[in-house]
């Protein structure tokens, strides 16, 4: 299903940080991991990941360095910094608050209207 642009943008930072918490990674692998985690439901325009990564790098949440791929190509790897871990914890609290608030409404329990209408 299509997820709204704003929600994609808002979830990009915590998702990338959380994926990098699993270990050092690079752009293409991060995209693959997002697809895998969401069961293919969350699809980004691939190129858009890179400005996000660069912003995280500028804010020192991740650290980048150039390495090599298995086939010897130049590849830029990203890894989480301590500041990035803090930000991830911070983001988690925020999402929990939003999640809790939504659960308290009828958001998660109301009956979905039949598709036919």
């Amino acid at each position: 299903m299509d997820i709204g642009k704003d929600l994609v943008a808002a979830s990009a930072t915590p998702l990338v940080l959380a994926i990098l918490r699993e270990g050092e990674s690079y752009g293409y692998a991060i995209i693959k991991r997002v697809e895998e985690l969401s069961g293919g439901e969350l699809q980004w325009t691939d190129g858009m990941l890179y400005p996000v990564l660069h912003r995280l790098e500028r804010n020192a949440l991740v650290k980048a360095n150039w390495g090599e791929s298995e086939s010897g190509r130049r590849r830029k790897y990203y890894r989480l910094t301590d500041k990035g871990s803090e930000e991830l914890a911070n983001q988690r609290r925020q999402w929990q608050i939003v999640n809790k608030a939504l659960r308290a409404t009828s958001f998660t329990s109301f009956q979905l209207a039949p598709q036919a209408i």
């Binding site: 293409y28 325009t45 691939d46 890179y50």
Partner: protein
Amino acid sequence: MHVLEEQIGEWRAYVRRRQAIEAADVAELEDHLRSQVADLQASGLSADEAFLIGVKRLGELDTLSREFAREHSERLWKRLVVADAEKSGTGWSRELVVALGLAVGAGVAIKVPELFGLSIQDQAAEFFYFRNASFFVLPFLAAFFAWKRGLNPAGWMGLAAIFAVGVLVMNVFPFTPKGSTLQLAFLHLPMALWLAVGVAYAGGAWRSHDQRMNYVRFSGEWFIYYVLIALGGGVLMVSTMFIFQSIGMDAKWLLQGWIVPCGAVGAVVVAGLLVEAKQSVIENMAPVLTLLFTPLFTLLLLAFLATTVVTGSGINVERQTLIGFDVLLVVVVGLLLYAISARDPQRAPGFFDALQLALVICALLVDAMALWAILARISAFGFTPNRVAALGENLILVVNLGWSAVLYARFLGKRAGFAPLERWQTAYLPVYAVWAAIVVVIFPLVFRFR
């Protein structure tokens, strides 16, 4: 596989043209694209299909480049020296070393006379510096271009000869101190020598109209850079003054004896270097200023003409007003020159060209009035160096403007292209040089150095 490499190569070149996406980003995106293509191929797609899907998934390039621009907004501001320094190409660094060496050379040259007791702060030595000001500066700029363009030995000799003649004239002629022939020579010498520098700039190919036009463009940009450096230098000096005053020291000797003279001459070469380095990086500034000021000067001249018609008053010829008119006309010719230098010759005539023609016609009318006034003055009071110089300059400008007006009218009437106008201006440049040389060399002889 070969086709895929070609496609990726084309894609890379295409992405690289986006200003906000730098080489490192392209490498990163390329790694992404290649991983994607490899995966898709492994799942059974052909190279072609895999490439197309990979590129599509990366997203539309316009949107992507906008996202990059948002994250890296500084990249939209073109960088000059920093970008070149990063490149660390051997060409740049050698050029930098040579230019800085020559700038230091100019700075040293202006301090050398002090060893012989001619201090720049000394009233008695003023006469010496006044006569030789051009020679502390322009040979170094000429040398820079002669080196950079690989001027042949004959060209070097020719330039050296021109400068030698200048030095001889200024130092051997028995000028009357503060006499008008000396003042005229002082004003015209830089003009003649500046055009000699143009020979070095063109690498000896000074007959080429394209090279001449390039030198005109260079001169405009050089002037703007020099003014900017001078403004920065002013801030530096004021700061130096204040900071040393605060601890009870007077830094005046340092400023007047060293920073001002050495900085002023060194900046000439540095400005030349900067213009050379930036010519393809940043939009030219002189044409922008031209665009801004052409309407204003047209208005000024129209207002002036209207006022003289209404009040019926002729030009009052005094030295100050004559110089003022000459300066005004030089500015108009400059505006014309830079408008022409920046114009795409292929474009059809437009509003701005009509405005240029209006400016030229107004200037012609004002010039005719000035000429009339000068002639009246000469017939009443006889020849003096200043009047003859003013007369000559006005005649030269009137000829230039008159023929330009004809060419502009033809161009606007679509009876001719724009190229003749361009060629006319570049063909006319040596006239200025010859006239300036005449004022420097012949005038003192004719008017007996008074």
